[in-house]
Symmetry: C2
Subunit: 157 residues, 2 copies
């Protein structure tokens, strides 16, 4: 459904929760009860987010998790990328996607443009804005810009 996977959805909720108190260190269990997401799932997500460099962990007793950067410096796009790889609406928008009919596809070039639009929409929203809801998002939405012309795919289409 052009939809986010549920894991990614929960992941952003998790990050938003972390962003609400960026300094404090909380463990997986605490975050689970705060977000109402099941504990094992939270743990799994946090692992992925750590690996993606968005969250710092401290091990051992009294350990826990904390944002790796200031909430203003983390975009929703990064969260999505950490959890489910590059943002690619179509198979061909990531290199070597292996669609098979790329050569003859009339829609490919335009999908790429649409893909970029979506990507930039996600990149324009920071965790700080997610945590402090919606006022600032209004600005963000109009900030979507066309890419410079020379960035366009040099295809033989």
């Amino acid at each position: 459904m052009l939809k986010l996977s549920k894991l990614t959805d929960y992941g952003t909720l998790l990050m938003t929760t972390l962003a609400a108190a960026p300094e404090s260190v909380r463990n997986a269990q605490e975050l689970a009860t705060e977000t109402h997401v099941s504990a094992p799932t939270v743990a799994k997500l946090l692992k992925l987010l750590v690996r993606g460099g968005l969250v710092e962990s401290t091990r051992g007793a009294h350990g826990g998790y904390r944002l790796a950067r200031a909430p203003e410096k983390i975009t929703v796009a990064e969260v999505v990328r950490a959890l489910e790889g590059p943002i690619a609406l179509t198979a061909c928008s990531v290199h070597g996607g292996g669609c098979g009919i790329e050569e003859s596809c009339a829609a490919r070039v335009n999908w790429r443009v649409i893909n970029d639009a979506v990507k930039q929409a996600l990149e324009g929203v920071t965790l700080a804005e997610m945590a402090a809801p919606l006022r600032s998002l209004l600005r963000t939405r109009t900030a979507i810009q066309p890419p410079p012309l020379n960035e366009f795919p040099l295809t033989r289409f």
Copy 2:
């Protein structure tokens, strides 16, 4: 991966192909060879598109398919909707999505705004533009507008 299903992808390709010659009537087999998509899949897609009101079919000998409306009047968003239902990034952005933690979700309101942004991006692209690649898309991308304020969800967040 925040990705389109392959069926939807092929569906837009199919529609783009139809839009390239909006007048002519072609049958499923012809469209399959033109798009390089397997024939049964094309047939399945066309059924869905007919049901969605985007394509007209004529049955019997010399039957085939044709766009129901002018290419300028059909948006990519409609194609996506016909093939995979309402555009909903998160489970809660469609009514009765049944997320379960909606009450306590800090991210919900903002996801809704992002969802609207993506939706409008898709609504801003017509099949005519897909068929005549990319020049006109540049305009479209900047045309994304914030919704009127009173359209915002009235939540107790």
